[in-house]
Each structure stands twice: as C-alpha cells, then as structure tokens.
Symmetry: C2
Subunit: 319 residues, 2 copies
C-alpha cells in the first residue's frame, strides 16, 4: 500500500462524536492535526465543542497540546459522512457497539475513501475480521482501540483482521506513535483484545472476594488503589515481578514464587453476576462513594489522573 | 483485652531486619515512634542503618517523616529478641516465610511480651490460625501484611485467626491507621489474603497472553502501565467500573457490560508455569529491560513511585 507517511499526516476524520470520538478529536487537535468530525445525531456538534473546550486545559497541563487555547480553527463538524472524509489520511471510527451498524458504516467509509488511507475502529468488542467483511478494501482496516478517555490514557491496541495487510498494522502503529500515543500490536484476535482481558481477570477475583465476604467492595478497592495499583501505574505486572526477584530478576522470582503463585491460581474464584452478587456490588460502591456524587467522583478521578500523567511525564515523553 | 490506646503507642518492636523489617522500621521511625529492632543475623544492624538512611529522603518528600534527618536517636538494634520487646506496645514480626521458624519465634515473643500487647506478623503466605498454634496468648496475634516496600506503599492487610480476639483486630486496624497506613480488614482466612490474590489473577492472564503469543511481555506490560494501571493508582476496580457506568453507576454498568464481562471471564486462560513459559517470561522481561540494569529499573520504579505518592498526597492525607 502506498500510504502517506505516518508522521506527515495533517488531517484526521473522526466518525462518531460521542465521548470516545470527542475525546479522540481533542487529542488529535492537541497534537496539531486538522480534525473533521461527523455524527448524524442532533446536538453532537455542540457536545464536541464543549468536550474539546473542557479537555483542553488538561492537554496543556500534561504537555500534549501545543496551543494555550483550543484550536477550534482546525476543528470542523458535519453531519455528512462523505464530507469529512475528504482529504483525511486516517479515519478513526467510534460508532455504537453494534456489529450491523459498524459494518454498514465502515462499508460507506470504505467506498468514499481512497484505498491508500487507513481506517481504524475504536471497537472494544468486535474483531477486525468481523468488521472488514463488508469492505471492498479490507486490507486497510485495523482496530485502534483506545482506553477511556483517549485524550488522557496513552494506550492504543492495534489489531489486524484476517484480511488486513500487515503494512496497514505497521502504518497504524507508527501513526499512533507519531501523534504521541503508546500503541501495542495485539498479534492474535482474541475477545476483548489484551487490556480489557487483564481488567476482566482482575475484576473477576475482585467480585469473587466480595461475593464470598472476604472483603467489602471498599476494602477490595483499597487493596488495589493503596497497594499494587500504585505500582501498575509505573510498570506492568511482568516487570514488577522481574524487580521483585531482586538481582536474580524474573528467573529468581519464578524459582521461589512460581509454585505458590500456581497454587494461588488454583484457588481463584469463578463468580457469576447473579442478582445477589450484583446487588452487593451496587450497595458496596454506594457505601464506598458515601456522600460523593457521581460528578464528585469523576472530578476526583480526573484531577488525580491529570496530576499523575503530569508527574509521570507520559505525554511529554512522547511529544 | 486492656491494650494501651492505639494512638498512644510510643514504642514498636520490629522482629527481623531484612528488607521488609527495615522498611517497617523506617516508616515507624518517620511517624515519630521509638523503634527497637532485632535480628540474629550478623550485619543486620548495619543493613538497617543504611536502609533507614536511604529511605528517609523519600519519607520526607511524601510528607511521612517529621524530621529532616533520620531520627537514629529513636532507633535501637539488638540481636537479643527479649531485649527489644521490653516496653513495646506492638511487635511487627518479619521473619523468613517458614512456618516452623515463625511458629517458634512467635511462641518466644508470646512468652516474653505481656498479654495485653499486640503481635502482628507480616506473613504473606501463612494464615493467622497456623501461626497462633504455639502461642499461650493467641488472642492477640494478627496478620498485618504490608505491601513492599512498607515505608512507601500504604496498604496493610489485617487478618485474624480462629483464636484471635476481634478486639485485637480492631486495635490493629486503629493502630495502623494512627501511624498513617491504610489498613483493610480481611474477614476470612484465604490463601494470599486479598491483594496478592488480585495480583495473581491479573498475572495469570498476563502469562496466558504471552504464552499464547497474543502479545509480547513488553506489550502486555504496556497494556497495564499505559492503560488501566493509570486508573488503579487512583481508585479500585469496583469504583472505576461504577464511574464507567456514568450517571447510572454500577447498576448501569452491570446491565450493559455484565453479559460481555461474563463471556470474557469464560475465555480467560489457565496457563501453567512450564519451562517453556518461564523461558518466554525471562526472555521477555530481559528484552523489555533492554540496556537498563536491575539497579536502573529499581531506581526508575522508586523515583516514579515517590513522585506519584507525593502528587497523590497519600501520606499527607493520613498524617
């Protein structure tokens, strides 16, 4: 494929302007690109504008935005899909998670966009092989799965389907890197890609411990946020255990902690989300929230996340 | 039991001065307590002194130490166990993870210490019910399991055994809170308490994804550290999903993401630490480390952890 160079992209089309699409738009805009956004829903133009305005100070704080004020001159919106694709080197699709809807939307994008342009889907639940079935040029379709909110969390999971050209995957990796994200290549199509599988694995045991009365929801949460969660913001689980092995590293760790680890694996729970378990989870998070409203909690999370990204220098490292 | 008030403790005995014991000593010292440390091993006196000196600037930085210089005047060391117990309101035991050794050591502490004083074991692998079998006053034995390194990570898991008096658990919780830790009460004795079970659950899937070739060790690590790991430093997994539900919170989350989550649970892997898998893990972390030595990596982790604790204000919140 004769794509433009990934680090010379100047225009991106963002399809779907819900929270994920609007957040992607804010990020691309911060990184100096021209961004054209489309969404058929009434009012999404205003939502996008407000989202970008609200996100901007954080982008400046973490070193990801170049201008002090939102660069609205480089942001455009149209309800007409074909209009926003004109001149775009990359399309980032963020429609609702419904396969038929995504397939027909991607077929339309595919028909309107020159074949040497990348189409990336933000899907968390579908495989690239499913999404590309209706496309005439499926070789340029990848999954570019961000983590919410995309303008703050660096991770992007890139996955190709059966019909994806390996060069499209390589191009997408380079493009995301060039705009300051941290892309990883998911080498096999598995349910939920990598990161959500890891989240699901952790949460399964978290649900089990609540269901069995080993800890309250609040205590199980604290067991992460005041414990290993503090290290997982710094390094992944493999590297953490490599360091736990001291000078002998992972080798030493496996020699000494491999056997107990395997015995713990055997004792992990396999809960179901029964009505009783669900009720305990809802009551538990409400007790944990106390007098804090959802807005309070979200503001707390975002303020701490921005401070953390700032101190870790994640955006600046990539700029 | 007629314990002294938990917030009026002035002296703590630390039994075992390896990395865990020395780190506990640094924390207690930072919090203004008098600390008496014992270890039969030759050279542990010097190790302790060096550890505290090295840890101190971080304690000052995160707001946990009151004096600018290490308070060595309040720190004493003796190879004689009975000597350091004199006048201590709390004993924090950190011997090697060998049951027979811990049982005989705890029996000696139990015999020498007045029965209205708390004995806490840092054990990660044993149950309180196992440890208290050899004690004449088992009712004052709890597990007070820290996260490494105890002078930086706030979490302490408190677990009582079959013979533990509930008031000893309550006292321990209050004591750890008073000295600025974040204790949680683990209500049932299960292998590995709570936090290490959650770590084990996450790592099992992380190993599976490497073993199956879905991602490299480095990519799986990035899928945490550049993704959900950034949120787990702020809030636990239940609260994160409560917020992911928007205004409808956990209830909405379970309605919409409960079914896919359960289907992902079914697809999670059950790897074994075979020689081949172990080899892949070792090679993977070595590739990820690149030219960075173990010392480089540890320094990187610690510097980032201290910056993170500083910005999150975890120690100051509790001070």
């Amino acid at each position: 494929m004769t794509f433009p160079k990934p680090n010379e992209v100047t225009k991106v089309a963002v399809v779907g302007a819900g929270t994920i699409g609007a957040s992607w738009a804010a990020w691309f805009l911060g990184r100096g690109l021209t961004v054209a956004v489309t969404d058929p829903l009434h009012g999404r133009d205003q939502f996008l504008h407000d989202y970008v305005a609200k996100a901007w100070p954080a982008l400046v704080r973490i070193g990801a935005a170049r201008e002090a004020e939102p660069a609205f001159d480089r942001l455009s919106f149209s309800p007409e899909l074909e209009e926003v694709l004109d001149g775009a080197s990359v399309v980032q699709e963020n429609a609702l998670e419904r396969l038929d809807l995504k397939q027909s939307l991607l077929a339309r994008i595919d028909a309107a966009l020159p074949p040497d342009r990348l189409i990336a889907s933000s899907t968390s639940g579908f495989k690239a092989s499913e999404l590309q079935q209706t496309m005439a040029h499926p070789e340029r379709l990848v999954i570019g799965h961000p983590f919410n909110p995309p303008h703050l969390i660096p991770l992007v999971e890139v996955v190709g389907g059966e019909k994806t050209d390996p060069s499209a995957v390589a191009w997408a990796m380079e493009f995301y890197r060039a705009v300051g994200k941290h892309p990883i290549h998911v080498k096999k199509e598995v349910p939920a890609h990598i990161s959500n599988r890891l989240q699901a694995a952790l949460w399964r045991e978290a649900v089990h411990l609540v269901a069995e009365g080993v800890g309250t929801v609040e205590d199980v949460d604290a067991a992460i946020a005041y414990g290993p969660g503090l290290r997982w913001a710094l390094m992944g689980p493999h590297m953490i255990f490599h360091l736990a092995g001291g000078e002998g590293g992972m080798h030493h760790f496996l020699d000494h902690l491999g056997p107990p680890m395997e015995s713990w694996w055997k004792s992990l729970g396999q809960p179901s989300l029964t009505p009783e378990v669900n009720e305990a989870l809802v009551a538990g998070v409400e007790a944990e929230a106390g007098s804090r409203s959802m807005a309070d909690l979200a503001a707390e999370r975002d303020a701490r996340l921005i401070a953390l990204l700032d101190v870790l220098g994640l955006a600046r490292d990539k700029a």
